[in-house]
Symmetry: C2
Subunit: 407 residues, 2 copies
């Protein structure tokens, strides 16, 4: 008997009609002979309301354990309501809060990590033919207090439960109907992928494709959980995220992703001596600022160098302040910052065995007159930094150049 | 060191400003050297919203355990928010859900009874100088599922916690500032009572004074918890509900209560034979319909009798249907129903030792031309049933007759 974990996000349970719709959906799977364990988010907007209340009382120094107590109440509402809606359709169901489902986490309130899941209560429930409806996003810490996994954590809950239960598949129902070769709002010819590998999905998630939370993909990859991304509003197959060996014929390139979340920082005319990179990046790392796409250009005088890198736009003001504080100790002329940039990435496991992928990327961009400001690569991804105004042009040109356009 | 349990109802925590107000109030007590354990309801209106959602999905056959899962989320919000508001004022606080506070109940979902409270977690918290903020209205059943105590159950939670912790006092903050000799909306000369006995409060609660839930008063009486009813919006002493021996000089009559929640039923021309009362009241009891104020009048023919009694207005349609079904088996002419009645009660522990209380009641009503349709008495209460239109007149006249008017 197939066992499926099905996760529905906030927009899928935003009101009673949608909850009834989810119940009907789950009922179809149960009647088709599948065993189903459901994972839910809070009603869309509800968690924001709860967060606003916390911030309204104490925006800066609130106790994160109390924050968790407040925001974890959102899923408690939807799981109870769905259990009632399922019973109304003749499907026996029972709701479980995170702690009732045996989801134990560390004590990092607001961004807790799942430490272990005791699958006994859910297994017992499934074996009696009852559909467990589990609150996503939450668990219980070592001291018996409620924890939450951070925004979008319900995906992680679903994948972790699928792993703990040994489920055949984890369906993530969302407001898009699958993973696309690129953003269909930019490229109308974008195609929905039938399958994509964990590695590709991970790279896509990390460079702007917002379909799945990075953590949940990493977890799925680690425990080999087959994940399906599909629409909660249409009854169509979505995209399967699977191990590479489940994909018979891999494409060279699976997708083009982009993000406007980064900003470029240049430290200009740095005295080029050993240890200078460490002197710059050490303090940034200490301040928890992630640095990406580092380029060091040799200067004409052979004495000075320019160091360019990207940080997330949210971190830019802090990064600038830290760097200005280093000017005397490190020795440089000035710090330039530019948030009018975009990072465009070409992703595909096929890259590993095929040369020429990078060349085609650079040639395509050159043809359109787009200047590359920085480059970074991984085994299955090439990213370039370009001026933000060229984003759509670059994505469309690359999508066509790698043969991804729908015909 | 004085230990006080302080309970704030839904209107007292209806929004962030009011939650700040509650925090300030609790902080004053803590700074004055008291140890305080707080019990909260959900934001006013929030529980109704949650109940409406449940009813919207399945008004008739919803699983009461899922109902509890949904509605218990309301207090989870307010306790976390108050803990944050208290911390903001420099008062260390920690929220506790019912199960985290060790509140165990039976499994009667929707109307559970508290079975036991393990005071260890709250005691430990209080001993470390941290204010526990406990979710009222909820507990955990024997199977580890969330239970609720029924509407107004937060009062019961507060009194039960005060008993378990051996608190010196249980303050119930509400939107009135104490217990009055009668409803001040009807009698502007009503006086606030400084003290009232458990027995009187119990009778008042059972006949319409909505200040405290009957169950919480019974619990307070059983465990001798000193309860104070006071306003959450003004900083004034309220009414103490205490043991009779704490009241030096008891008044003959402490208050006049009334309720319009009852309806009168008359079974007319019943064949008067042994067992006829059992034949009528048995089926009503089986249908869980409470019957009050029974009057049997002897008929002129010596063969037939009329049996008159009251039921709650909500039960009237069901009661009529059941009685109609008994016509052939019992033998009577017809069933008359009248929901234009009110029950007015005179309450006071002084009655036990003083004659003439009932006489003064009947004489006062007769003087105003008010006909008494039925009478019931307890050791410390006399209730009469009158036509609804005379309610205010009767209450005002009795209030004056027993010397309760403020001078």
């Amino acid at each position: 008997m197939t066992l499926v974990v099905q996760k529905f996000g906030g927009t899928s349970v935003a009101n009673l009609d949608r909850i009834r719709n989810v119940a009907a959906r789950v009922a179809r799977h149960v009647r088709a002979g599948e065993r189903v364990c459901v994972v839910l988010s809070a009603m869309a907007g509800h968690t924001n309301q709860l967060v606003d209340w916390v911030m309204g009382l104490d925006p800066a120094h609130y106790d994160p354990a109390e924050y968790d107590q407040v925001v974890a109440s959102g899923e408690q509402v939807t799981i109870g309501l769905l259990a009632i809606a399922l019973a109304r359709l003749g499907i026996p169901a029972r709701s479980f809060l995170g702690w009732q489902a045996g989801i134990r986490t560390d004590d990092a309130h607001g961004k807790a990590r799942i430490v272990s899941i005791d699958p006994t209560p859910l297994r017992r429930c499934l074996e009696s033919g009852i559909v467990p409806v589990v609150a996503g996003f939450q668990g219980i810490g070592p001291d018996g207090r409620i924890t939450t996994l951070g925004r979008g954590g319900s995906d992680t809950s679903a994948v972790a439960l699928a792993a703990a239960l040994g489920a055949d598949r984890c369906d993530i129902f969302t407001d898009v109907d699958g993973v696309y070769t690129t953003d269909p709002r930019i490229v109308p010819k974008a195609r929905k992928l039938d399958r994509v590998t964990y590695e590709e999905m991970l790279e896509m998630a990390s460079v702007g494709a917002k379909v799945l939370q990075t953590r949940s993909v990493a977890l799925a990859m680690r425990y080999k959980v087959r994940v399906q991304v599909l629409s909660s509003f249409e009854d169509l197959p979505g995209t399967l995220v699977v191990d590479e060996d489940e994909i018979v014929e891999t494409q060279l390139v699976s997708g083009i992703a982009y993000t406007r979340d980064e900003a470029k920082v240049s430290v200009v005319r740095v005295l080029d001596r050993p240890g200078v990179a460490a002197a710059i990046f050490g303090p940034l790392a200490e301040a928890n600022i992630n640095v990406d796409m580092i380029v060091q250009s040799v200067s004409r005088d052979g004495v000075h160098t320019n160091i360019t890198f990207t940080v997330s736009r949210a971190d830019l003001p802090r990064a600038k302040a830290i760097l200005e504080g280093l000017r005397d100790a490190v020795g440089f002329e000035r710090v330039d910052a530019d948030d009018g940039v975009a990072k465009v990435s070409v992703i595909g496991v096929g890259m590993r065995s095929h040369a020429g992928i990078a060349h085609r990327m650079f040639a395509t961009l050159a043809e359109k007159g787009i200047n590359i400001q920085a480059i970074s690569t991984s085994e299955i991804k090439i990213s370039v930094l370009i001026a933000e105004e060229y984003t759509e042009l670059a994505v469309r040109a690359l999508h066509a150049a790698y043969g991804l356009d729908r015909t």
